[in-house]
């Protein structure tokens, strides 16, 4: 055979990040660095009202008093905030009346991402809010949603058109003082998505946002605020990619979910930011704060597939405030090469009869480190609350690490908590079984890994599930020596 296993390995090492391309569009940047002035410039460029500038400035002051956190098993050179461009908007040539007027370069990018708006338009059931760098470029399906009273727009638009909603809920779930990166985001967030589902309304389609970091040296600080009013339902998809670059890019988002009485929010993420190359050069630093609050009988379900970023630090959480509320967390996190992921969830049980479920599947390959860190707290008043957690880790190489750090705190004698975790190697027997049936090693691994992650992948909406499966495959290619 001419094509040897070594050739194959080499091919896989050389394989480029599938989405590693940059788009050439004129973009308007402000100078690098972070001062109070930066915050003011961002706010004024966006023509924001006074109260929002105040909100930002307050957050900035809190931020100045904070120090950057350190985490076990996550080591990296901290991004220098003075080298980051905090605002970059694709320069609009004119007001966009329809999609056809969107910069063809941008459209091309979208196409390469496999989410061209043209296609998406035809694909009924998906409305896309596309965030390139910091400004939402185009939003589809707006009219259709509008008829139902559903608001789905960029964050900046929401500030202009629905200030009362933004003002009422912004920062109520993630206060700007919550942590270093949340404070930073609150001061300098550029844009993001806003969504409001009115009372008793079931959103008829999956709402989808693609985030993408394009401009080199820009940090992306998007802000998402999603409010599901009483008795409503929404499923929200978020996909993230970034082009390939040598330097590290910072991404520090804040997502706030509010599920009022009887409401249900399903929030799914497929995160595929550029993970850096095989030597760990470049890649996105992904420090995200995601949290939702559930009122009575409400439900929030987080599903995430994390394959990207050099460093991921992320704990989508649920505050189960209302009685009978439900929180769920389903996660697959894959790390390869020099990636580091520290992810998990917090389930804070406050109301009575609250329930939470945590299913976390970690997959570590290369020299990567993959940690699950989670907190389940049953408060004094959370009678008859239940939690079930299952955290599994799969190891692909002897140079990676997999770590599990659950915190389980119970202050109520009527609660029941169950936590299980396992760590094991990908099964040699399973691999040989596949080989014997004629399924080659790479394929066998992808089959086994996908099977292992099935429980979580099944929670994703169809369109995403297929993409997620493909991503797992791509991320692990060449990972087994």
């Amino acid at each position: 055979m001419a094509y040897s296993e070594d050739d194959l390995k080499q091919d896989l090492v050389d394989q480029e990040y599938e989405f590693g391309f940059t788009t050439d569009v004129d973009s308007e940047k402000i100078p690098k660095g972070l001062t109070e002035e930066t915050v003011r410039i961002i706010s004024s460029k966006k023509e924001e009202p006074e109260w929002l500038l105040d909100y930002r400035l307050k957050a900035f002051r809190v931020f100045q008093g904070m120090t950057e956190p350190d985490w076990a098993h996550v080591t990296y050179e901290k991004p220098s905030l003075q080298d980051i461009v905090f605002y970059s908007a694709p320069k609009p040539k004119k007001e966009l009346a329809s999609l056809d007027e969107v910069d063809p370069e941008i459209l091309k990018t979208m196409e390469r991402l496999g989410i061209s708006l043209e296609e998406q338009k035809k694909l009924t059931g998906v409305a896309v809010d596309f965030v390139m760098d910091s400004v939402s470029v185009a939003t589809s399906f707006k009219e259709k949603l509008g008829e139902l009273g559903i608001i789905f727009c960029s964050f900046s638009e929401a500030v202009k058109d629905h200030p009362e909603l933004v003002k009422k809920y912004l920062g109520t779930v993630v206060p700007s003082s919550d942590n270093y990166y949340a404070a930073l985001n609150s001061a300098v967030f550029s844009d993001g998505s806003f969504c409001y589902i009115p009372k008793g309304t079931k959103c008829p389609m999956e709402l989808s946002t693609y985030f993408r970091i394009n401009e080199s040296g820009t940090g992306q600080f998007e802000r998402t605020l999603l409010i599901a009013d009483k008795g409503s339902y929404v499923s929200y998809l978020e996909g993230c990619t970034a082009p390939q670059r040598d330097e590290n890019q910072l991404h520090a988002a804040v997502v706030e979910l509010i599920a009022l009485d009887e409401a249900e929010i399903k929030y799914s993420t497929v995160q595929n930011w550029y993970p850096g190359d095989k030597d760990g050069v470049g890649g996105v630093f992904n420090f995200v704060t995601k949290r939702g609050v559930c009122q009575q009988n409400a439900k929030i379900s987080w599903t995430q597939v994390e394959t990207g970023s050099a460093i991921t630090w992320k704990y989508p959480s649920c505050i189960l405030k209302g009685d009978n509320s439900v929180g769920e967390f389903y996660s697959v996190a894959v790390t390869n090469n020099h990636q580091m992921a520290d992810t998990g969830t917090k389930m804070l049980h406050i109301g009575k009869n609250t329930k939470s479920t945590i299913i976390s599947k970690g997959i570590s390959a290369g020299n990567s480190h993959n940690s699950y860190r989670g907190l389940v707290r049953i408060g004094k008043g959370a009678d008859n609350s239940r939690n079930f957690s299952q955290c599994d880790s799969l190891l692909m190489t002897d140079t990676c690490g997999a770590h599990t750090y659950p915190y389980i705190e119970c202050e109520n004698s009527t609660a029941q908590l169950e936590h299980e975790a396992t760590t094991s190697k990908i099964g040699e027997d399973q691999k040989f079984y596949c080989l014997q049936r004629g399924i080659g090693e790479e394929k066998a691994i992808s089959l086994i890994v996908n099977g292992y992650a099935k429980e979580v992948l099944n929670k994703l909406p169809m369109e995403f599930a297929v993409e997620a499966q493909k991503l797992l495959e791509i991320s692990l290619e060449g990972s087994v020596g």
Binding site: H73, D398, H403, P406, E409, E418, H419, E420, T423
Partner: protein
Amino acid sequence: MVVLKENNLLNSLSQMGVGLGAKNQAFELLKELEFPTRKTEDWRYTSVKKILKKKYVQFNEAEQVDLSNEIIPSLDAHNIILVNGVYSKELSDVNFPDEVVIDTFPNAMEEHVSLIHSAFNGIAKNNEEVFTALNTSYFHEGVFIHIPKKVKLEKPIHVIHVNTKSNVISNLRLLIIVDQFSEVSVVQSYASLNAVECLTNSVTEVFVKENAKITLDKVQSEEPNNNLICTVQVNQKANSIFKINTATVSGDFVRNGVNIDVDGENCTSEMNGLYMQKGIQHVDNHTKVSHLKPNCTSFELYKGVLRDKSTGVFNGKVIVAEDAQKIEAYQQNKNIILSREATMNAKPELEIFADDVKCSHGTTTGQFDEEALYYLQTRGLSRESAQALLVQAFADEVLDKVDSETLRIWIKEKLD
């Protein structure tokens, strides 16, 4: 060192005992170390504020006391007695086989100086654990146990520690070396006789050499209003077996640390614990197994029943080092909360740096199965006795790990 404003603990101590160099080093170290606060990750759920506030008295002579309650009558053991932290030759058994050493450091030094020097303080984590540094610095004469090669000590060694005066601080120090192909069983019990507000700070170093085996049973039954910090530091060499069972019966503040470095292939390590808490008792069990070499197995089972206003902590960590392949590590922690005011915090951790491993942990916190209770009630048991029966069955799973039946019965009696 940052002297806490109210650190009377340190102010009440003065150095004494043998002049081992390590003691001076620890003493110096102590000046730099800080006492843990709730911000210290390993002490997140356990506050030592109250302990540090108190004033203590140190003893350097053993009292004559009546220990009939503490000696297990039907346990045919070599009883070694420490009163208020001080070894009592009068009360202790000295009839053990010639080749075996059980004595204070100063006495044992005469013949075994190089052995003691090679091992003592070798694995104690003075620079990480301030209470260990405190112990090293201030312990009185300590006890040295050496089981030489190819000796199987038939009778168990029972190290009994009692505090007989209030406000006593006892820094107990034990060094156990089990040499190649040897076997021994050691029981350590902690009690107080009409004494309150004491602090017992016990550090045990255990060296388990190649093909050796040791079982360590700890029984903690201090009277309420006493504080106990117990650290066990273990180093296992190839083909050895180490087993520790910790039963916490009483004592208002109990902190147990068990750290095992499995430093050889084909070892088995086992840790079991039972805590039955009442009143305002606070019991914290921290365990850490570091698998440094391949082909080893570790098992862990900790169970607790929490009543009244008690609080429990379980923090079990399993580390598998790089290249320590073919490790199997299993950990279970189960808790039953029987009172609205009790709190349980569990934190099982896995840190895995090798790939060919099978590790798992599980923890549950909850109540008794209502159906089981109901079933027993339909069979004529009152709810109370049904619950008592289930508690017993729950505890038995751990107690069954205690090999000696005599000891098991003795613990059960204490629990009742």
